[in-house]
């Protein structure tokens, strides 16, 4: 069955077509969500949300871009919403802890180890992901789509709805910022 036929069936709310779409693109959606959120549980949650959103709004998909581009866009948007929600909760928990109404401690998450990284690069990748976490949302998205998902500038532009030159500028800024963050990190490690 072709991609177009599958999408046509999905527009008719066909369960089997939806199942096939989930099975075909689950890796792509989950891997993107995991690389942005750096937490397996949150990534699973966002993956489910992204597929439900795709199912509910497939009528709006006109085929102007590739289906995968459209799905990437939904995933990134859901992941960013999730980060905002989590930050809001964290801020609220911190205020609660100040007033003594919440006994839970506000703690930083542990280092994130991506399951797809080889053993010998695991430590370095964990340092990189920690640095990526500090990037502004747009730079983080562009970096993840390029370095983890392996998308071209044109494909990233399609997902983020920006030009190729804007993608290039975003990635340059992301790499510059990462170098600075890593430099500070190693300087701090040398001192400590």
């Amino acid at each position: 069955m072709t991609e177009t036929e599958l999408i046509d069936l999905l527009k008719k709310r066909d369960r089997a077509a939806f199942k096939q779409i989930v099975e075909t693109w689950q890796g792509m959606v989950y891997n993107t969500a995991l690389s942005i959120l750096q937490n397996a549980e949150d990534a699973e949650d966002v993956t489910q949300e992204a597929f439900i959103q795709a199912f509910e709004s497939v009528a709006k998909f006109k085929g102007e871009s590739k289906f995968s581009t459209w799905l990437y866009r939904i995933t990134v948007s859901k992941a960013m919403d999730h980060i905002r929600r989590k930050k809001r909760k964290k801020r609220f928990a911190f205020i609660e802890s100040l007033y003594g109404t919440n006994d839970k401690m506000v703690v930083d998450p542990p280092d994130f180890f991506h399951p797809g990284v080889s053993m010998e690069r695991k430590e370095n990748a964990a340092i990189l992901f920690k640095a990526v976490e500090q990037l502004p949302p747009n730079q983080k998205t562009a970096f993840v789509l390029n370095k983890i998902e392996g998308l071209s500038y044109n494909e990233i532009g399609g997902v983020m709805k920006i030009s190729d030159s804007a993608v290039d500028a975003l990635l340059q800024r992301a790499k510059g910022n990462l170098k600075k963050i890593l430099k500070d990190y190693f300087a701090m490690m040398n001192k400590g």
Binding site: Q26, N31, T47, I52, A125
Partner: protein, 110 residues
């Protein structure tokens, strides 16, 4: 760490995701998605998620403020001095209340 070795270390870290494999979710993702969709169909969970949206909460607070401001504004307009004094004068006349002054006492007629 010296400049050259530092740059080398930074490059190593930046290239650490080269050749990364795609991470996969736990098995039976589709079953979990279907279960979640069923759960979201429930009317009460839809209502609670709608009410819990920040936009809705702010809209409610904003409407309450607007209603309060409106009530205060219109009560100010309706409470003009003339209309407020009228019942007081009517009551004073009805109960024959008169405010006497010192002049009235000194020139009281026998």
């Amino acid at each position: 760490m010296e400049g050259e070795s530092l740059n080398k270390k930074i490059d190593e870290v930046l290239n650490s995701t080269d050749g990364i494999q795609q991470a996969m979710p736990r098995p039976f993702l589709f079953t979990r998605i279907e279960a979640r969709m069923q759960e979201e169909k429930n009317i009460w969970s839809r209502i609670s998620s709608f009410v819990a949206r920040p936009v809705v909460a702010f809209a409610c607070v904003f409407s309450i403020i607007i209603i309060n401001a409106g009530v205060l504004w219109f009560s100010d307009i309706s409470a003009t001095p003339g209309t407020q004094q009228a019942p007081e004068i009517a009551t004073a006349d009805e109960y024959n209340q008169v405010n006497y002054t010192l002049y009235d006492f000194e020139n009281a007629k026998p």
